[in-house]
Amino acid sequence: MEQYDILIIGGGAAGISAAKAAKGAQVLLVDRKNALGGVLLQCTHQGFGKNKSGIEYAADLIKDFPQEVSLTLNTTVLSISKDRTALLSGKEFGLREIRFSQLILATGCREIPMGALPIAGTRPKGVYTAGQMQAMMNLHGHTPEGPVVILGSGDLGLIMAKQLAQAGLAVTLVEKKDHCGGMIKNQRCLKEFPIRLICGDTITEVHGYPQISGCTTAKGITIPCSTLLIAAGLVPERELIFGMEKYDWLHICGNCNTVHPMVEAVINEGKLSGVAACNNLRGSL
């Protein structure tokens, strides 16, 4: 069985940063996508580092990606076991089991889908998560049908509201809290575009079948729409290490640790994990 000092799962900002910090060790980084960068690759908006887009920011990050790190893309880690082996699955190498000393989990986060929310009604087409729509627009050139309702006015909801308004679509944001949820810089779009913001309310029902035709809020407002985006929160993607959180060979960084609004914090955590994994390696020698 192949053996590595450090296995890094996830090649987003956190995983890349961890790989750079893990100097001198034998490192394997695995990502299920066909490129390094993670969620950065679907962000065309300026907002990373010094006014870069996510794509540009990722390109900068990858520039000095250490050559000595083994990189396996298009490969999903299926499972981790307590005896420190990992099962990988990808079209190039098939099923592959490897052994590792230290594990850096940098798997990012996923979005809460509509199904997880107590929203009544039919289950029509035209409902997406905000990040899913971001990927569809920015990676695949898709434009949804308007009008669009977005549930949740956090950063992701605002970023999508802005992009859709820029594309000329009518956008309504519905926010449970009594004020807009995202960072101030992301709230600017509310002034720049005719985006309707409904605060202190939430969507309780969707209408239409097979295609969505509208939704109704807790306060009884019915908003016609052809597209509903769910931007109701992100959950760290940690199922791989379910029940293994306490092991000292495990280091968790980036959005799979806690969801970070800023990439700098993610980079920093990745670095700390890379260093900690190396320190553990030395300690165990």
Partner: protein, 446 residues
């Protein structure tokens, strides 16, 4: 005009099993379905339980078929390569005053020939299912109760029917039926079809379909039910839990499904929009769930959905408690209002209809009939079967391609065949890629 010995109207689980079992005989068979795929109706939204058979009145055909359907489920699922879990069930109550009701069920079960049932004390039940709220008065344990994925079973029967020579006409709705000397003419949204035997398996519309030719003797009144689905990682009961309505709640059911998800179903309610959930219904379901399973982590709910139940009534308004297969004229059979436990009895009903049709047509046995159907497998040597597209459920490109080859034309059709998009992200990360594969294979976005 095409001619068949028998036409099955409706490709739900019942129509699929009827078609499969017609092919045990030399009966040329056509299955007609108005949607673009099979198993999209009631079969898509129900409780997935393989009942033991203690709920039904001794002597009824429901009781007899349920016990038989349950006993035969292992071999049926082996033949069709569908996962089946005989997890057993507990029927619990918190009120001492409800214990006689449980005793009656036990007695029913004894008379119906349900094996292994016994009454448990509250403590015994609590020890078996520590997640249940404490204070159980008594429970009926039925080890033979199980669970199977209803649409997987239905699709397996469909594939097996086709493999044995049944023909299929999808996207075809039957809009009129005429009698002719040698049988019936079906007027459809496509070509007309001639046949000697009609088997009406139109689910929610079975009464209306029969009415196209015969005066109705059974009417369907529809009501609804609501469901929650939990992430497989959530801690859950090991048995199916039926909560007998009592002071602790109206009675929900919790089903640990073969896929590992816990399914929770609520009490019946008036139907609003078909297959839709209601805000009040969901609220009640969450509240009842918290009461019965206080430790269940409902933040791990990944989906909710609504179901529609067809309840059969006589013209007089009296409800019909048993399965009834109507036979208003020679060669015309209607399955009207086959609700719970229709899934448990699906192959039994199919066998029964096959025999009726064979007797009517004086058909011979089909000696070439092959009851075995191969499931979509994970071929580890094939690179496509190592490329994960659905990250949550670990479904590969190879499996998805095979689902498309077997007739899936939509993301939903793929989902029903291989389980992609059923997981905790609910398809938000794989839908695009699956749509692309469908497009590449000639099933463009509509």
């Amino acid at each position: 005009m095409k001619r068949f010995d028998a036409v099955v109207i409706g490709g739900g689980i019942l129509g699929c099993f009827v078609a499969r079992n017609l092919r045990r005989w030399n009966i040329s068979t056509l299955l007609v379905e108005k949607e673009g795929d099979v198993c999209t109706g009631i079969t898509r939204a129900n409780s997935a339980i393989v009942y033991a058979g203690y709920d039904n009145k001794p002597g009824s055909s429901k009781a007899e078929m349920t016990v038989r359907g349950n006993a035969n489920m292992d071999s049926l699922c082996e033949e069709l390569e569908v996962p089946f879990s005989r997890c057993g069930s507990l029927l619990v109550t918190y009120d001492v005053s409800s214990v006689p009701k449980l005793e009656r069920k036990l007695e029913n079960g004894r008379q119906n020939g349900v094996a292994g049932m016994r009454m448990l004390t509250g403590e015994e039940a609590e020890a078996m299912e520590p997640m249940l709220k404490k204070g159980i008065a008594a429970a009926v344990y039925a080890p033979s109760t199980g669970t199977v994925n209803p649409w997987q079973l239905g699709i397996a029967a469909y594939e097996n029917a086709v493999q044995n020579g049944a023909q299929v006409s999808l996207n075809t709705s039957v809009n009129g039926i005429r009698r002719e000397d040698s049988g019936y003419i079906l007027l459809t949204s496509g070509e007309s079809i001639a046949c000697k035997v009609v088997i009406n398996c139109a689910g929610l519309y079975a009464d209306q379909l029969q009415q196209l030719l015969f005066p109705p003797s059974t009417r369907l009144k529809l009501d609804g039910a609501e469901y929650l689905v939990l992430d497989p990682l959530a801690r859950k009961p090991e048995h199916i839990i039926f909560h007998q309505a009592d002071s602790c709640g109206k009675g929900i059911t919790a089903i640990p499904c073969v896929e590992g998800n816990l399914l929770i179903s609520g009490v019946r309610k008036d139907l609003t929009v078909p297959f839709a959930t209601t805000a009040e219904g969901l609220e009640e379901l969450y509240a009842d769930t918290h009461r019965l399973l206080p430790e269940l982590d409902t933040s791990m709910v990944i989906r909710s959905f609504g179901a529609v139940r067809p309840n059969p009534y006589r013209e007089s308004g009296e409800s019909i408690p048993d399965f009834c297969v109507e036979n208003p004229a020679p060669g015309f059979y209607s399955l009207i209002g086959i609700k719970t436990p229709g899934l448990t009895c699906s192959n039994e009903l199919g066998l029964a209809l096959g025999e009726k049709a064979a007797a009517f047509l004086q058909a011979e046995k089909n000696i070439c009939f092959n009851p075995h159907r191969k499931a979509i497998e994970k071929k580890k040597e094939d690179p496509d079967y190592c490329q994960i597209l659905c990250q949550c459920e670990r479904i590969t490109k190879g499996e998805i391609m095979e689902a498309i080859r077997r007739g899936a034309t939509t993301v939903d059709g793929v989902k029903r065949r291989v389980g992609s998009g059923m997981g905790r992200c609910q398809g938000s990360r794989c839908t695009w890629e699956i749509e692309k594969l469908l497009e590449e294979n000639g099933h463009g976005a509509i």
